[in-house]
């Protein structure tokens, strides 16, 4: 029975997706977070840094954005600009989540 484990045991390290909200200041420091503490801090920091860079670049290109969303296959990241910082919503996309086309109850 340990055959498969021996073959694939060390390879399939599935990374958990972040779920919750983080608030970051203009320097990219995380001020508040509701994301599970089990989620790697460095990845949260990467999200904060990249999202702020996205908003900053938009401002520099004369196209300031109040909100930006990144839609991935299994995660949606929505960030709202807050005086140079941002509040970032992390929503894993599951099959149970309603799609824009699904009928309202």
């Amino acid at each position: 029975m340990g055959f498969l484990k021996r073959l694939f045991g060390g390879l399939a390290a599935v990374q958990q997706l972040p779920a919750g909200t983080i608030t970051v200041d203009r320097d990219g420091r995380i001020i508040a977070s509701t994301v599970s503490s089990a989620y790697p801090k460095n990845l949260l920091q990467t999200i904060a840094k990249d999202v702020l860079e996205l908003l900053r670049e938009a401002r520099a290109s004369q196209m300031p954005l109040a909100e930006v969303s990144l839609h991935f296959g299994s995660l949606r990241i929505t960030a709202r600009e807050l005086r140079g910082g941002a509040i970032i919503f992390l929503l894993p996309q599951t099959a149970l989540l309603p799609t824009p086309n699904s009928p309202r109850p």
């Binding site: 990374q15 997706l17 860079e53 196209m63 296959g73």
Partner: protein, 361 residues
Amino acid sequence: MENRNKILVLDDDVDWLALCRDLLSTLPSKPEIYTANSARRALTIIETEKIRLLICDLKMPRIDGLQMLAIVRRRFPELRTIVLSALEDEEFRSRAYALGVDLFWLKTEMQRNSKLFNECLESLLGQADREGDTGFRGIQSKSLMDIIQMECLSRSSTVLRITRGPLVAKLWIQDGEMFDAECEGARGEVAFQRLLAWKSGSFENLPAEPRHERTIQKSVNALLLESAQTLDENAGASTAASAEPLESLNHRKTIWKLSQLTREGADFILAVPPEGQGEPDAIGTQSIASTAHWTRKADEIAHRLGDKLEAGPLSHVSGQNLERQVILLSRGDKTFLVGWPTDATGNLPEKTRKLVASWDS
């Protein structure tokens, strides 16, 4: 000496003529100055000399300035005209512009702002040098199609009065839609098609006439597309070997893309190839370079973040501010950014995908 521009000043005040002669002789292009104190004398000079620009007073005995301008417009349509008058009357100003004059200046203003006046003169003489060019006065190197597109894209309400020598045409635009056209005795779509065959002329914006009867029901893009096709067919029949078909094809392509854009209700679309593989292509936005820069950057950040988080393939990036919403997505090796109005409804990512697919096809 033969290449010097010739300016004729017509005024019944001899002292004023002397003053004008002194002032105009200081122009950098050193034009030849002719003066006349009567319309009859002025007409003789215009007939014998190759006058480029006529500066005309309005209040004169026998033939007044407006009559003179009407004669000149009919007999010498290529002659540039400036009215220089002491009459501060809005009615005279609009009547003069209705006769197709290029500029209306007050004598007092001319003395106060002689530098600006000289610059206007030089600009007009410069335009006169390029007589062979096509395009419309006021917006050089732009075709009438471009002018109409600009008016309609900005959703403005205006009456465009287009003059080509003795011919006068009018376009009624209301909230960016073509309401009516009048050209060469025709009205509606026929007039619009005839007008688009004009390659040069001058135009002015008159106040909108919201109560004007609507005779054209088609969208501007459909009209432009039809007119471009007709023009292409005509051009193709007459000059098969000339370079014009390629130009027309590009123009038609642009109009087709524009019609796609407006049919879906989008504000702009920008196609950005990978760095170093060509220039971005856009319709509906002026700030192409900066927007393309953000598009590349946003695409790069989103892909990088997606890889790090193992969040699956990037579907799209959306953003919004008070003015509009934008959707960024990739297709092939290009990245597209599509701008939508804030009140756009429906499944925008899906609409964007459709628009991008038809644009890229």
